[in-house]
Amino acid sequence: MAPTFSHPDRPSSVVVDTLVRKGFEVSASQRTTITVLDTFDGRLHQAGLRLTLRRSGPIELVLVTMGAAQEARLSWSKVPSWPSDLPAGPFRSRLASVTKERALLPLLTISADVRTLRHLDHRGKVVVAAELLDHVGIEDADEAQAAELPTWLVEVLPVLGHADAAEAAVTRLGAAGLRAQPDDLVALAARSVGVPLHGRDSSPTVPLEASDGALDAFRRVLANLADTIDMNLEGTIADTDPEFLHELRVAVRRTRSVLAHGKSVLTTDIRDRYRDAFGELGQVTGPPRDLDVQVMGWAAYVSPLDSADAASLETVRVELDARRSAAHQQLSNVLRRATTRDLLDEWRAWLSDPDVGTGEHEPIGAVVARRIAKAQDKVIRDGRAIAPTSPAEMLHDLRKDAKKLRYLFECFGSLFPAKIRKAFVTQLKALQDNLGDHQDAEVQLAELRDLAREMHQRGSVDADVLLAMGRLSDHLDRRRQHERDDFAQRFVAYDTKANGRVLRQLLHEVADA
């Protein structure tokens, strides 16, 4: 962090007077806006990066590695939504390697009158600079929020190899009676308006003790999931990036699953009502999510084909993308409906004042241990029943069973010792990966065949494209079969005595707590 100073009762001219007396030159003041950009879940911040768009004279994107001397600047005229909006090069690739499938969003915009003060050595080289930010304001901040931020700040900007000059500037500003600030401008501004620079957390895990009352624990878990649904709603409706829908969809499905596990805790009418409602909501999120996965993974999807086939499938990609957009539009229409808003509001209202169920006083540890044991029994029973000739639906059902078990570990994860839980979940995840890949290949195969039929009927496809679609379809079928063949081995690796012992140990710990 750049050493930052201010003073609530003294004017900013103190900075200029202090530093000019020591030979600093001062630039003219320029009204500047600084927009901080990051993904919704704060990936840049978590990677130690800060991206800002500065508008004064020239417009520049500035990418700073926090705590490092070096920064990157790119002349650019507008807020990029994706790194791919920027020209090819290291600036873009550094951003893309961190943001991946998430869009860049403007988190907050600060405005200030900025003057630069620079100290030059006898060669005319800047050895230390300071940026004085006066009349600081934050876009859309209310009066109380704005009052929390100093009206002016000065940041000392050291130059590599000239630490002594920076230290001298810091000493002079301190000696002039200015107060060192705990953070730099961006961090102070973000705090004053309640913008979390570390991003929004969609984790399903809430802190719980095994001895907590079951109803309160369920309520906290479900309220956390409701928060996740709410915070991802706007981004899903706007189709800002695929992760909004993914997070929303998973939170809806977790909600439904937790409701199902609350048989002894929640009243039947509440469980039935909201399981149905969230079930319907979950269903409408399915097609756009499946298409998101296909479009996002297009390069990998066609990678087994030769370049000519891959190129001829471009029309298919465009068609899939159009289907994806249409599916998102349908979903947005549903999410915008008053009935959806009413559902979420009523759900919130119930969560804040829940009905008393039958087992509300039972400790959550015992309830979760029982539910996990039951879910595991079902996974084992259903998995053992699958033979090489069993229909695909049986694998699909097992996939759903495994998901329900996984959701329990995720939503009530804080009840378990992290190390043992992780060891068990790793085994479960290996099984889920196989079932998931099998299901993805099934879905993609069905989508591709449906698309081929439709394009053929429309007469909008030539023979080369159909042949390439056929070859892709063969490949998907082989992939599906490969996962199917792999299943038995994966399941045997999961269905072991050792894994059973790990699970019993986990359940023992929470049930007896």
Partner: protein, 249 residues
């Protein structure tokens, strides 16, 4: 980090002005740039207004305990840092010869900085020597200024033959430098060189007074004459080099 060396066996062909101006352009277009001045004359060091001092001299710098990080200085230009040169670099060959793997030594010194910079620009002295070979071992690309002179083609040919057969050799990116289109001989030689070396980058750097003024301004052309033809030419040249280093995804 990509490593690019401005290199030529010939002297006075525009290596340093190219290194300094491309460092400026690379920084302006989003790269974190480290300029390593390897020329004992220290012209790049001078142009960036950095003190010409290699602490401990080139022997300590390239010796077994040497490292670059402690020698890096801010250039007073945003996003550009410099490892300065001093006269001790005249013995660079000798000092490299005293190391275990001289050809890999410069690459070894750059390795710890790979995450900190996107581009290292090595401004080389004119020669073909052990230091040059160590540069070839470190560089992804050699940016070779070719002046319109009768011996220029021969010099470029010598370099190509020297690197021929080395699978790890850097990509050679020759470009025309110090071209005066008012002179008939230059026009003729440019045509001949372009025909003989189709791999010449499309942009030719002109012989221009504004480039000579860099010594007075002690700054890249883009910093003091942004709208000049020379500034535009360096922008174009950098775009061509960047397209080779970071092809469109």
């Amino acid at each position: 980090m990509k490593v690019v060396a401005t290199y030529s066996i010939k002297g006075g062909v525009g290596k340093t002005s190219t290194a300094v101006n491309l460092a400026f352009e690379a920084a302006r277009t989003g790269s974190r740039v480290l300029v390593w001045d390897l020329d004992p004359q220290g012209a790049a060091t001078y142009l960036f207004r950095v003190r010409p001092k290699v602490r401990g001299g080139s022997k300590r710098l390239v010796g077994s305990g040497g490292e670059l990080a402690g020698h890096i200085r801010g250039a007073g230009l945003s996003s550009v840092h410099v490892v300065p040169a001093d006269f001790s670099l005249r013995h660079l060959d000798l000092h490299l010869d005293g190391t275990k793997r001289p050809m890999a030594r410069l690459a070894g010194l750059l390795d710890p900085l790979r995450e900190d910079y996107d581009l290292a620009l090595l401004d080389c002295p004119p020669s073909i020597s052990l230091a040059s070979e160590s540069v070839f071992g470190a560089a992804d690309a050699l940016l070779v200024p070719v002046v319109p002179a009768t011996l220029a083609s021969r010099t470029l040919g010598q370099l190509e033959r020297f690197l021929d057969g080395d699978a790890d050799a850097p990509t050679v990116l020759p470009f025309l430098s110090m071209v005066d289109r008012r002179r008939k001989l230059h026009r003729q030689l440019v045509d001949d060189l372009t025909a003989e070396w189709p791999r010449l980058l499309p942009t030719a750097v002109p012989a221009a007074a504004v480039i000579e003024r860099m010594g007075v301004e002690r700054a890249p052309v883009g910093a003091f004459a942004r709208s000049s033809v020379a500034a535009r030419v360096y922008r174009d040249l950098w775009a061509e080099v960047a397209a080779v280093l970071w092809p469109e995804d």
